[in-house]
């Protein structure tokens, strides 16, 4: 079993002491001492406020922190040994930490947490990011409750965002997941989510986290696994999106972790997604969250430059990925001025699909395909910003629905190029 290598003796001893629990809260850390204190405080408050009677344990999978992160996490324990604890808790609260590797590996971290939750027979496992400083105690309930009480297997988050945030989610991840896997999950890649014990055990046993897609993007792989199996999925409205991590601003890394994993999933799940048409809404828990309209300064010129220069300089690479007609279209729009620039939704859709098909056929190295999409995404995000600069929140939603409709409408095109030689 994969679990054998994940569980060090020390971790196993700690798990034995914790015993069976109802809910596990998992955190994956690496030198997060600046933010994890706030997060763990909110988790602790959430447990005491929302689940005072339930048996809850916090499992921290740490990738070799040197800044005292793990001590901050384990100090959240509430038990009869800590006589100076000012917090009142009905039960002992275990907060344990395990070093799963010398260097961070998100996939191995998630495996470690899931293995722990599996052995502790947790009914629900909530994953929280150690950087989510906007987290509120109620988030724990909003994520765990559907899995713990209402028999949902996967609870995805929905955040209140600034209108320009999450452009990759809005323009690629959401529409593509929706059109291919038939489910309207707004945030298929969430830094917070909850899974049922059943899903966790099945996912761990499937070995996906040891394969390419799972290793690159464990979060989105979890979502896709749930969507392609007989699992009940819902989404829960949380609150303000936590501030972005350092790594998510690195576009290439973000692409690998999301789009790379998404593309990698298409090979193995072809029989599933090829048979689906249209999409279904997903049960949503909580009241709706508005998009916030805080003003923002965007360097649109730079975005256009990155797009046009990308198209020009990557022409030989793009030529190996895209069809000649599409590449010609891209060259045409790359020559447009800032005021005229538009990366139309159906062109973008076909771009994404052609990338996906090339990824499937490995026309060039797959990682290079993912890197090549970055400048094109810049162009699309410029159009996204232009369209939504002045409009109200509802307009953004309308446009997004329209983009999703394009993805769904053009799905046959993907199926067509999937099987052909390019």
């Amino acid at each position: 079993m994969a679990e054998e290598n994940l569980l060090t003796d020390e971790f196993l001893r700690q798990l034995i002491s914790v015993g069976e629990v109802d809910i596990v809260v998992g955190l994956s850390t690496h030198n997060h001492a600046k933010t994890v204190g706030t997060v763990i405080g909110a988790i602790q408050s959430g447990i005491l406020k929302c689940f005072p009677r339930e048996r809850v344990a916090i499992i921290n999978a740490d990738g070799g922190s040197q800044d005292g992160t793990t001590e901050l996490v384990t100090n959240a324990s509430i038990d009869d040994l800590r006589r100076d604890s000012k917090l009142y808790a009905l039960r002992t609260l275990h907060s344990i930490s395990v070093r799963y590797a010398r260097l961070p590996d998100p996939s191995k971290a998630l495996q470690t947490i899931l293995a722990g939750a599996d052995l502790l027979r947790a009914k629900a496992c909530v994953i929280v990011s150690p950087e989510s400083t906007t987290i509120e105690p109620d988030w724990l309930q909003r994520l765990a409750r559907p899995a713990y009480y209402d028999n949902f297997d996967l609870v995805c988050p929905v955040y209140r965002r600034q209108k320009f945030e999450g452009a990759l989610v809005r323009n690629l991840l959401y529409p593509m997941t929706r059109s291919l896997y038939g489910s309207r999950i707004r945030e298929p890649y969430g830094s917070e989510f909850a899974i049922s014990g059943r899903l966790g055990t099945d996912f761990l046993g499937s070995g996906i986290l040891n394969q390419d897609g799972g290793r690159m993007g464990p979060e989105i792989s979890t979502t896709i696994f749930a969507l392609t199996g007989k699992y009940r999925v819902c989404q829960s409205l949380l609150g303000a999106k936590p501030p972005s991590s350092r790594s998510s601003h690195d576009m290439v890394a973000a692409m690998r972790r999301t789009v790379g994993a998404l593309f990698a999933s298409l090979d193995g799940n072809f029989p599933f997604w090829s048979a689906i048409s249209g999409s279904q809404p997903v049960p949503t828990v909580g009241t709706s969250l508005e998009v916030t309209q805080e003003t923002a300064r965007i360097n649109r010129k730079r975005l256009l430059e990155m797009f046009s220069s990308g198209v020009a300089q990557l022409e030989p690479v793009l030529g190996a990925i895209l069809s000649p007609s599409l590449l010609a279209e891209l060259k045409r729009i790359a020559a447009l001025s800032l005021d005229e620039f538009e990366y139309p939704p159906d062109l973008w859709t076909r771009t994404v699909f052609e990338f996906a098909a090339s990824y499937h056929k490995s026309t060039i190295n797959r990682d290079h395909i993912i890197q090549a999409i970055v400048p094109l995404y810049r162009g699309r995000s410029l159009t996204f910003i232009n369209e939504n600069r002045d409009g109200p929140g509802e307009q953004i939603e309308t446009r997004e629905e329209s983009l999703c409709a394009d993805f769904e409408r053009l799905k046959p095109y993907l199926l067509e190029i999937w099987a052909d030689g390019k």
Binding site: Q162, F164, E165, G166, A167, L168, V169, Y189, K241, S244, S245, S248, H249, M251, V252, A254, T258, A296, R297, I298, N299, K301, R302, M306, S309, G310, Q313, L314, P316, V317, A320, S362, T363, I364, N365, H368, Q371, A372, V374, P375, Y377, S381
Partner: protein, 234 residues
């Protein structure tokens, strides 16, 4: 006088005719050998191709990643490549065998040298092949990295990487072939220098913000740059 010239000419022509008559059968034999060799080589190629297909060699090469590399380097498939190589080696062998029948002195030595040369040629071809593949891969990787890091001269960098790797590969090829060994030294020096250049570029790219800040502080210039908020794509 005229009679002597005619006699000499007659003797020379007769001598030539005798030599032609002497070598013609050998020539014919050489051509026959070459022809038969072609046929045998062709048959061998077909045989090798069938054998490779039967033993699913293409699958093996796909698993090893060779198929993709060949495809990306615009070369024919591995099965085809191996069968063609076998054909050419076999036919050239027969041709040389035929040439040896001509009995031209000194040629035998060259022929045996040729056969001794073949393994080194094979190694050199392999090095060249992988050099091509590596050049293609790393130049593309450099191009992508540079474009995504907003480096202006991405193409130049990519070409530079390709050239450096090709130089390196070629110098290794020449060394294996035992040709222009001194070039190896020069090539190595070039590569080393290029590597240093590459590092300088990398540090320059990576530390450009730092350098800019330093310069601004040093010279007190107000850089009129459009400030912007950073939004996470996720």
């Amino acid at each position: 006088m005229r009679e002597i010239i005619v006699n000499e000419l007659t003797q020379a022509f007769q001598q030539m005719a005798r030599e032609i008559v002497h070598y013609l059968p050998r020539l014919i034999v050489m051509l026959v050998i070459a022809l038969i060799g072609w046929a045998i080589a062709y048959l061998l190629k077909l045989l090798v191709r069938s054998l490779l297909r039967l033993t699913k060699f293409s699958k093996l090469s796909e698993n090893a990643g060779a198929t993709q590399l060949l495809h990306q380097a615009a070369l024919p498939s591995s099965t085809e490549l191996v069968s063609r190589f076998v054909f050419w080696v076999a036919w050239i062998g027969f041709v040389l065998l035929g040439v040896s029948v001509l009995g031209i002195a000194g040629l035998q030595e060259y022929i045996s040298r040729f056969f001794l040369f073949l393994p080194r040629l094979f190694v050199a071809l392999v090095i060249l092949f992988f050099g091509l593949v590596a050049a293609s891969f790393f130049s593309r990787a450099a191009l992508l990295a540079a474009v995504n890091a907003n480096f202006r001269s991405s193409r130049m960098l990519s070409s530079a990487v390709r050239v450096i790797i090709m130089i390196f590969a070629l110098s290794m090829v020449f060394e294996v072939l035992g040709v222009a060994e001194q070039t190896m030294l020069i090539a190595f020096a070039s590569v080393f220098g290029a590597a240093m250049l590459g590092l300088a570029i990398a540090f320059g790219l990576g530390g450009q913000d730092l350098a800019r800040k330093f310069l601004e502080r040093k010279f007190g210039r107000q850089v009129k740059e459009e400030r912007e908020d950073e939004f996470s794509p996720l």
